[in-house]
């Protein structure tokens, strides 16, 4: 797009696509929904957020994600996209400005790998700690600690997991910030001890110092009360 031979050339298909309304079906406490919201914000994409009551799912949600019936769902125009990773890749490809993924295929593969590792290793921890007690809970916490060791060895490339700018890995790792902090407070522990994990702690500080990142965090007190109610 741009001026060419004195004429302003439009890529109508892209423009039309990009101008279609964007809606995000979500739930306030969900780290998955947060990830999608953050990606949209980082790209400067305007969207309408629609809060779902997960105990009473809307017809729109059931229609847009009939298979899993879960949030987040991104609806672009009339096209629904589900599963946070799939949504993020869709956002990246549809609105390429402010890249969240590197261009080189090998770097992209590495990005996808760490993004998935974080999701596979830490999200279940949140669930397990909330749902279990005693030995099982301790086991979940130990596994998280092992995963943190692996992450610090392999993941951090600089200020952020993406290097000097945020990438999908940082977005994936957002679950390590407020969710882990608040859960830790609720059970009286600190998941990410700054002495044990200085690099990851400083990543959290760097990451959460960004306004866009903080803006869409769930309210701390509300999240704490919610976690406590589940324990």
């Amino acid at each position: 797009m741009g001026a060419k031979n004195g004429e302003y050339e439009h890529d109508y298909s892209t423009m039309a696509k990009n101008e279609h309304k964007v809606r995000l079906l979500g739930a306030w406490a969900s780290p998955f929904v947060y990830r999608v919201g953050l990606a949209l914000k980082l790209k400067g994409i305007e969207y309408e957020y629609m809060e779902e009551d997960l105990k009473n799912k809307s017809p729109l949600l059931l229609e847009s994600n009939p298979i899993h019936k879960k949030v987040p769902v991104l609806i672009h125009g009339n096209n629904p996209v589900s599963e946070w990773v799939v949504i993020l890749e869709y956002i990246e490809e549809t609105w390429p400005e402010n890249h969240l993924m590197p261009q080189d295929p090998y770097d992209r593969a590495t990005t996808r790998f760490w993004s998935k590792f974080i999701d596979d290793k830490f999200i279940p921890t949140l669930g397990m700690v909330l749902k279990t007690q005693g030995e099982e809970q301790e086991k979940a916490m130990k596994e998280a600690e092992e995963a943190l060791k692996t992450l610090k060895r392999g993941g951090l490339k600089g200020k952020f997991f993406g290097g000097e700018a945020i990438s999908i890995v940082d977005i994936s790792a957002s679950c390590l910030s407020i969710w882990f902090e608040v859960l830790g407070e609720a059970i009286g522990t600190k998941f990410i001890d700054s002495e044990k994990f200085p690099l990851i702690s400083s990543w959290i500080e760097e990451f959460t110092s960004i306004d866009l990142v903080k803006e869409s965090f769930p309210p701390r007190d509300k999240l704490r009360a919610y976690h406590k109610s589940l324990l």
Binding site: V81, V85, E89, Y90, P105, R108, A109, R112, F113, K116
Partner: protein, 218 residues
Amino acid sequence: MGGEVVLLDFWASPFGMRARIALAEKGVKYEYREENLANKGELLLKSNPVYKKIPVLIHDGKSLSESLIIVQYIDEVWKNPPLLPEDAYERAVARFWADFADKKLYDSGTKIWKSKGEAQASAVKEFIENLKILEGALGDEPFFGGEKLGFVDVMVVPFVCWFHAYEVHGGFSVAAECPKIDAWAKRCMERESVSKALQDPEKILEFVGFLKKKYGVE
């Protein structure tokens, strides 16, 4: 595009088969190395220190793991023929179904041979339900990729050689429950990339027997 390509794999792994099919579709020459999963080699442990699993693709000395990531890498480096569609929304749909196959087919299939009695019956029901959902996604197209084999076909078809083992242990028939999937499977097998990558279902059945003993499921 140049550079040596090595695939660390295990003959029966549907995840490894995905990589084999993708490489074959792209006409990429590579060295296949069979791993002994009971005694993992140094190269495997070094190139996938996080999970220590196969498949691992080593391209020009750089290693990657996780079949979904490997297949996407192959598609991005060797562009023809493309496996993922060009349109961003269609790509999202393809990725969704690949994710569905990962989350729903393999786990429920494994449960079938790993369990007994009611748990097994419930696993069979779940597997058939999931397969029917996939069948719905296929619709009346010859492949998930439309006219030609695509990303979702590559991700799902390896499970086909495991169907026989699931059927025998679970007491059901894929052809009876999901005739379109059965027809799709046969269509895929007509492609050399698929027929060469997939294993003889009888050998997989035998392998499952060995696994059952190993896991003490009798």
